[in-house]
């Protein structure tokens, strides 16, 4: 009888969860695997060592969801960061476009547009991660202040950028200055 062996899918995530203790890395790996994330234990490059000898490689795109689940489970991680040395931190630059009755706020690849008078979100656009169409449907027609936060319910870096756009929109609608 021949046995079919399914080739295991390799994993290259591009992101690291840095922790200060080895057991924290093992705990993080266990919790994230249980939650359905694809992760693996790796040695962090020397340049990235922040008091840790073991790290968890993750899919960097899933950073927000992973940070949330680690926090919910009281895992004391140091930082979630890109694997490659020299890659910068997440973008902070936000751009604003005035469409007359509406304002569009753009953070990296994500855009959120709201009606000036009412503060109601009329559109979101951009992005390419699977939580974005779900967030789009959940945000449309909601006043900025009452909208669910993409950072709370999203899972990806696109969601994080959309959250940044929402945060800036709230500031603008409440009378803050344009960036």
């Amino acid at each position: 009888m021949a046995f079919m062996k399914r080739k295991k899918v390799a994993f290259e995530g591009g992101g690291l969860v840095l922790v200060s203790e080895v057991h924290e890395a093992m705990l993080a790996e266990r919790i994230l695997k249980k939650a359905g994330y694809q992760v693996r234990l790796v040695a962090p490059p020397p340049e990235l060592r922040k008091g840790c000898d073991l790290a968890v490689e993750i899919n960097l795109v899933e950073k927000p969801g992973i940070e949330r689940i680690l926090s919910q489970n009281d895992v004391a991680y140091v930082e979630v960061m890109p694997f490659k040395v020299g890659t910068p931190e997440i973008l902070e630059i936000v751009r604003v476009t005035d469409f007359g009755e509406w304002v569009m706020v753009k953070a990296a690849n994500m855009k959120l547009t709201f009606e000036k008078k009412s503060g109601v979100i009329v559109n979101t656009s951009g992005g390419g991660c699977p939580d974005i169409p779900h967030l789009h449907a959940g945000l449309l027609g909601r006043p900025l202040a009452e909208a669910p936060r993409p950072g709370d319910i999203g899972y990806t870096l696109c969601a994080l950028m959309l959250d940044r756009a929402l945060e800036e929109s709230l500031t603008l609608h409440n009378g803050g200055e344009q960036p």
Binding site: E12, G36, V61, W102, T113, G127, C129, H134, L157, M161
Partner: protein, 296 residues
């Protein structure tokens, strides 16, 4: 066959494969009802509107529900890796999914071994994963926006949120970013860069720009980039050369935006609904596609 793959925001929708058809504001695939919203739904709707008009075979679609947890995305990757050699699509358009570098490498390897090479088109998460895996040059067409072309230009970025060139993402710098993306081998053979000016770039050379009609509000409307990808996919399937398909797709999208009298509050379905009208009025003039059944 034109095969379109991507996730849809329906939690727990199983992996679904079949011929797509429209029913009101929904797409129907193997009994599943999928809203025509931002994302893969808008992309497929645009492709279907085009194949319907040209009386071509409707797209086959491979979809799974995924609201960001990644499970549906992995089901799509794994199905494609196992079955792409048998499916042999003439056009394979990849859209929203969780970027997964290793699975993208496996998929490209599987496609490389196919007897017949598909025209490979990627946008959204599939474009992110193709670039992050260093496999952009394995693709025929990418359809990035200005921020995403900055991501392609950055050799180290694995996601647009991490690009170093954000200071240069003013659209005036798009040609420079395009050049850098090609120099770093992080671009497909053809780029359709969506923006106030749409750039059509073939092997690093800007071969056309489209800036009329100027419908600025479309940038705010979720899904109007997705519709361009659907249009270009369908026009390639109809037999147009990739650069021709890209030019016609850009013009069609803009003209539909004008016909729909778009504002930033317009929904993408209102734009898609105008495609048949645009085709009827302009497609023959623009493309030589003057009768049903494909390119004359």
């Amino acid at each position: 066959m034109m095969l379109i793959t991507g996730t849809v925001p329906i939690k727990d929708m199983p992996l679904t494969f079949g011929t797509v058809r429209a029913e009101g504001d929904y797409l129907i695939v193997d009994g599943q009802r999928i809203p025509c919203n931002q994302g893969t739904g808008a992309m497929v709707s645009a492709a279907l509107a085009t194949t319907d008009y040209l009386k071509l075979e409707a797209p086959q679609v491979l979809m799974a529900g995924d609201i960001g947890e990644g499970r549906g995305s992995r089901e799509i990757y794994d199905y494609l890796i196992r079955n792409v050699a048998e499916l042999v699509p003439e056009v394979l358009a990849l859209h929203y999914w969780m970027p997964d570098i290793a699975r993208t490498r496996q998929l490209c390897a599987a496609i490389e071994n196919c007897a017949q090479r598909s025209v490979m088109i990627a946008d959204a998460g599939s474009m992110y994963s193709a670039k992050a895996a260093g496999l952009a040059t394995a693709f025929d067409i990418f359809t990035p926006d200005a921020a995403e072309v900055a991501f392609l230009a950055d050799p180290d970025a694995t996601h647009p949120a991490y690009i170093r060139f954000m200071v240069n993402t003013d659209e005036a710098n798009t040609p420079e970013l395009i050049k850098t993306a090609y120099e770093n081998k992080n671009a497909a053979r053809l780029l359709l860069v969506k923006g106030a000016i749409d750039y059509i770039v073939s092997n690093g050379e800007i071969v056309a720009t489209v800036n009329e009609p100027d419908v600025r509000a479309m940038e705010a409307i979720g899904g109007t980039g997705d519709t361009i990808t659907g249009l270009v996919s369908a026009f390639v399937y109809a037999g147009l050369e990739p650069h021709e398909a890209a030019i016609i797709a850009a013009r069609t999208n803009r003209m539909a935006g004008r016909f729909a009298e778009t504002t930033p509050a317009t929904r993408v379905g209102q734009v898609i609904a105008r495609f048949p009208e645009v085709f009827k009025k302009y497609l023959c003039e623009w493309s030589g596609v003057c009768a049903t059944g494909g390119v004359e």
